[in-house]
Amino acid sequence: MEVWQSLWEAQLGDAVVFGVRFGGHLIVEVVLAVVIVFLLFQKSYQPASRPLSEKEIDQLVEEWTPEPLHPPVTKEMTPPYPVLESAAGPTVQINGRKVINLSTANYLGFVGDERIKESCNATLLKYGVGACGPRGFYGTIDVHLDLETKIASFLGTSESILYSYGLATAASCIPAFCKRGDIIIADDGVSWGIQNGLHLSRSTIKYFRHNDMGSLEARLKEVRKEDERKKKPLNRRFIVVEAIYQNSGKLAPLGEIVRLKEKYLFRLLVDESNSIGVLGKSGRGISEHFNIPIEKIDIITAAMGTAFASAGGFCTGSAKVVDHQRLSGAGYCFSASLPPFLATASISAIELLEDDPSVLARLHNNIALFHKCLSDVSGIRIGSDTRSPVVLLHLRPSLGSFHADAAYLQTIADEMLEHSVLMSVQKRTALDNCALPAGIRVCISAGHTESDIISATAVLKKVMTSKKQ
């Protein structure tokens, strides 16, 4: 009791502050505590920022010198390219001469086919050329719907969706399903259209070494390890490959990829631009070739400017996959639809292939013959797969860089053209991230005769020997 009494009195005792006596130092202490708390909650001092004055902005504007709109044009930016004077069939007319055409992706030889031209003719007379609107606004013509049904029934999927440009197909499809936070593991040799789609999706992209399943599995394991470490909510994961790579002609080992995708719980997107109408007993693509049910591939995209001798592209898969793109596929919603006669050309091409699958045998015979004829050429090595209609001829030994190889190969291609064989060197724009070696891309067609192949390879051998000397 006394302790409490004395404590109480102590509180009310006098305080001395700077020599001045105050009654009740408890009050002073409380005031001090309040001041301390107040100061703690104050923001730290920041000198006020002075906005730039109009005069200063004017000065900065005057000082600023932008770069020119484009860099100076050099001679190597403007190589002349061949101008065709007839249809781009197995032989073509350039500068009045008949030339063997090994440069266009006319794999089944349908360019210039009379039956396709007849159906296109009828469509042109009925519908005109353009569709004059996007799919959402009266640009959906019944031939588009027919083609979508035809593709789905040909491949054995539920539905398909058409795009009016081959390059825009993958670039619209990938961002529709992958957004920020999703993971995509892609081959580092994919073509520009897919690279663009990957970039626009803003997902986390991991690349694996071109067509190397060990590297793919390593990436998948990395992702799994990160999962175990971080415990984030489940996101969408895709593996993106091409069936036959545009940049190298290699075939993707689909069986192995499907096994990996099922083991690590990823979805699969395959671009079949160069394999549709080429691989498989009836040309249904890589899944038929490897005898894998097509449902195992979640999304298939393809350009129709190859075996189908048309233009545009399509994407196919389950009904959910296709339906979602009708509102989220940028190239579908915001672009005019495919000209109707090109849709009819594709329908006719598919029908011709279904009626007469022997055209596939002719194509593969030609490819085998081409490989055989070039088996003993020095200075050139074939980098592509033996079943690929896209044959890549690389320099052996390489001159060290893409540009050096490409420049040298261009001299070979120019000489070939003088001897009436049209071949093209792979071009690569500065915007392309692919690092595969340069090569001449030869496109074999079912329309080539055996003598075309034999004489073309003979000319190549002659040019290579003369160059060595």
Binding site: P66, L69, A88, V111, K117, L125, G130
Partner: protein, 477 residues
């Protein structure tokens, strides 16, 4: 800018709110239903759903209800009268079936400004000839043996038509923007784009890797402010000066019908050393005394525009796009643009259609059909717009522009207007979110030179009747 009344705005807000609430309630019921009946998820275990639920909420709960108003298939050429295929649904619009019933309707939706959509007496025989000679496609890119003499002729003609030294063509209008912008500008550059620019420009800008800023729609004053601010500040964080600045505008804005204030914008850009990129998708061939686009219409010298872009889909009845500029610019773009180097070349008959249509417009076919078409579309557009305004509709767009949006606002009026017009044999296009801002839904009319006076009268009658039914005559006195 629209001047809707407070009542309209509030009722629109409330309508959308109701739709969202109902949509979420239905989603809730669906998940309860699934949990209760232990319905297996469509996804295999261990996989995330293919579409996140909020991504396709709009598609499932709002869009599907009025799905029959969009993607209407037609069974004829997209000219002034079309056969619209009537689809039926047995499950409340979730899926639509296609029986063989068609309905002949007046087409106010297709981009057919000069009437080249169907078979044309000058163009079609030449297109068929080119099909015979070159086939339907070249199956190769322009640099790999896909260039035919038609492509060379087309590029020369386009350059001459637009008034620039050189031009290049692409097979798709969308890809023209999305593959050219990355070639022109990259990291360290700045793109200043109009707030209502098309998705292809946004795609191209994003693909390029440069920074993108937006200025208020069609406002040269705000553009100047944005330019001053950004040049003074420099790049974000480092404050280094920008490598270059490109200002992207459109000739006619397709959702507004407005013509760009190009003269003032070009003046501002010159003062601040920015480059001008003009997208004439809707204006080339449709406005201007001889159809040369917005430069001719407003009296701007094409030499002042650094990059001119346009498409062939609208006024030429074809497909594809072009870029026109100085010889060096085109040579540079040809060496770097992925659309030129990788994509399949434009189909030869498509190129021939553009060549023939352009010749008709210039008058090189030996007749004055081109000049008559141009005068007709201008007359039709001005008459139609005037009459609609007289009736009390809120119509956007400038004089001479063939694109005229009629404001609807409320989400319920979108399907009402569309279906009632279809019932009376007029096919219209209605646009809602996300192509327009949420509250500003509209019906967009595209006038064509092939619409006759009787067609326009009939359209006006029907639109007036439906307008009364649906209460969209906001400015009626």
């Amino acid at each position: 800018m629209s001047t809707a009344s407070i009542l309209t705005l509030y009722s629109t807000y409330i309508s959308y709110g109701l739709l969202f609430v109902l949509g979420h309630l239905r989603d809730l019921c669906r998940s309860i239903h699934r949990a209760f009946f232990a319905i297996k998820d469509a996804n295999p275990p261990g996989y995330a759903p293919l579409c996140r639920s909020y991504e396709d909420f709009y598609a499932r709960r709002l869009y599907h209800r009025i799905q029959d108003c969009f993607n209407r298939p037609i069974a004829s050429a997209p000219e002034s009268w079309i056969d619209v295929i009537e689809r039926e649904s047995s499950d409340n619009n979730k899926t639509l079936h296609r029986p063989f019933k068609t309905r002949r309707c007046l087409n106010l939706g297709s981009y057919n400004y000069l009437g080249f959509a169907a078979a044309d007496e000058y163009c079609t025989p030449r297109v068929i000839e080119s099909l015979e000679k070159y086939g339907a496609s070249t199956c190769a890119s322009r640099v790999d043996g896909g260039t035919t003499s038609l492509h060379v002729e087309l590029e020369e003609l386009v350059a001459r038509f637009v008034g620039k030294p050189d031009a290049m063509v692409y097979g798709m209008g969308f890809a023209t923007n999305s593959t050219t912008l990355p070639g022109l500008i990259g990291k360290g550059g700045l793109i200043i784009s109009d707030s209502l620019n098309h998705a292809s420009i946004i795609f191209g800008a994003r693909s390029s890797g440069s920074k993108v800023k937006v200025f208020q729609h069609n406002s040269p004053q705000h553009l100047e402010e944005v330019l001053r601010e950004n040049i003074a500040e420099g790049q974000p964080r480092t404050h280094r000066p920008w490598k270059k600045i490109i200002v992207v505008v459109e000739g006619i804005y397709s959702m507004e019908g407005e013509i760009c204030r190009l003269k003032e914008i070009v003046q501002v850009c010159k003062a601040y050393k920015a480059y001008v990129y003009l997208d004439e998708a809707h204006s080339i061939g449709a406005i201007g005394k001889t159809g040369r686009g917005v430069c001719e219409h407003l009296g701007v010298d094409p030499a002042d525009i650094d990059v001119m872009m346009g498409t062939f889909t609208k006024s030429f009845g074809s497909s594809g796009g072009y870029i026109a500029g100085s010889k060096d610019l085109i040579a540079y773009l040809k060496s770097i643009s992925p659309g030129h180097m990788y994509a399949t070349a434009m189909s030869p008959p498509v190129a021939q259609q553009v060549i023939s249509a352009m010749k008709v417009i210039i008058g090189e076919d030996g007749t004055d059909r081109g000049a008559r078409k141009l005068a007709q579309v201008r007359e039709n557009s001005n008459y139609f717009r005037q009459e609609l305004r007289k009736m009390g509709f809120e119509v956007l767009g400038d004089r001479d522009s063939p694109v005229m949006p009629i404001m609807l606002y409320n989400p319920a009026k979108i399907p009402a207007f569309s279906r009632e017009c279809l019932r009376r044999n007029v096919a219209v296009v209605t646009v809602a979110f996300p192509a327009t801002p949420l509250l500003l839904a509209r019906a967009r009319i595209c006038i064509s030179a092939s619409h006759t006076k009787e067609d326009l009268e009939q359209a006006l009658e029907v639109i007036s009747e439906v307008g009364d039914l649906v209460h969209i005559k906001y400015f009626k006195h």
